[in-house]
Symmetry: C2
Subunit: 237 residues, 2 copies
């Protein structure tokens, strides 16, 4: 059954925005009376019937909420320096949503090769990924400077990790039990974090970890983090 | 330092094939006396100096073998039904080589949406991925019918798993300790394995497992298997 996004499912009657209406009515050719699924991207999903198949302002009546026991997300807040090739980040975003990421922040680091991110485009892509993978969680996507990110998360209860290529460190992310619902994982640019950045993270008690025994590309490392968060989340709760 | 592929590093002097010669001399503009790295894709890597910068038949002298303690591969023999969209398989192949897969077989299943695979193209892509990720293991890539695959691996010592969407089964691949150096993981097409195929696997003692708690796309499931093989491999030896 086709799946559409609407941020607010608290009313009985809802109207899709232009983009979703077009997808539903023009592309997928749904008509009055058809039943589809909706999600608000915040853990709620429901069944709804189309009552006005207007291709610009499709409206629906909610018939039933869908209850399942799957967690909405894996609790991972991934903060990652974007790669020069933005396709690799878009790919990561799509996969991360499929796997169930909680939040995604693009970090502007000292060694970053890319500083510009088109947030609008990524948010549109994330709605497409949400619908395609039929999940119920649309992660917040943000952009932040490294130091600003560290400051903002000063008081968090999350488990905090920083992954970097330290030849002397053999502590793996998988060595940790999961203590909290949320974990933050910092992943640096191809040229890695600067010494200054690593020092800032240390002062804020980020645990230094490795992601396996190979040197992974940035986006592969991000994906590794997503999978590990799922495993730790489900195995330790 | 640039990395090139040559299947045989047992001689002091080696000559790259046309494709590798062109990449080395024409694309990357190496000249006589330059030092590069070579791998045979079977775990051996070395340094070598260019002694003839012919763009069709570049020859080199091996100067030194590179010794490290990283395992060559993660022991995973992934047998997966190819997706209709071959890009998703090419992407999986690239990532699987980066992560360190041992072998990859494309399975022709009852519900397969794609039966044709261009093996030559995938082998060329895998050499490119090997060089790009600077790993030392070029996995064997094969195509097989499901039943033929099961028969051929009848006498293997590998741990054998089949992942399929059984709502009644909650056994996770991550629940197992790794007993052997090699593990086989079967992943089916979008429409899943047929009842007949699952029965065949059961008779050959494949353990039925899940890959996390979400329904993943075929290529994401394959990648999950690659990461888990790394984790089990390193944590239990």
């Amino acid at each position: 059954m086709h799946y559409f996004y609407h941020p607010d499912l608290t009313q009985d009657f809802i109207e899709l925005n232009t983009e979703e209406s077009e997808h539903c009515i023009r592309v997928l050719r749904h008509r009055n009376g058809d039943s589809v699924r909706l999600t608000n991207g915040k853990g709620t999903a429901c069944l709804a019937n189309i009552i006005n198949d207007n291709p610009k302002r499709c409206s629906l009546q909610i018939s039933e909420f869908i209850i399942d026991e799957l967690p909405n997300h894996n609790g991972l807040h991934l903060a990652i320096a974007p790669t020069k090739n933005i396709n690799r980040m878009e790919w990561l975003l799509e996969k991360a949503i499929e796997i169930g990421i909680y939040k995604l922040t693009f970090l502007n680091c000292e060694h970053s090769e890319r500083t510009h991110i088109n947030l609008d485009r990524l948010q549109r892509l994330s709605i497409a990924a949400l619908k395609q993978s039929q999940t119920k969680w649309l992660p917040d996507i943000a952009i932040s400077n490294f130091s600003q990110f560290i400051d903002v998360n000063h008081d968090t209860n999350a488990d905090k990790f920083i992954a970097w290529c330290d030849d002397k460190n053999n502590v793996q992310l998988t060595d940790f039990n999961r203590n909290n619902q949320e974990m933050i994982l910092l992943i640096g640019p191809e040229g890695d974090f600067s010494g200054n950045e690593i020092e800032m993270a240390r002062r804020e008690n980020y645990k230094e970890v490795k992601l396996g025994y190979r040197r992974l590309r940035t986006e592969t490392a991000g994906l590794y983090g997503c999978f590990i968060a799922n495993i730790l989340n489900f195995q330790h709760t």
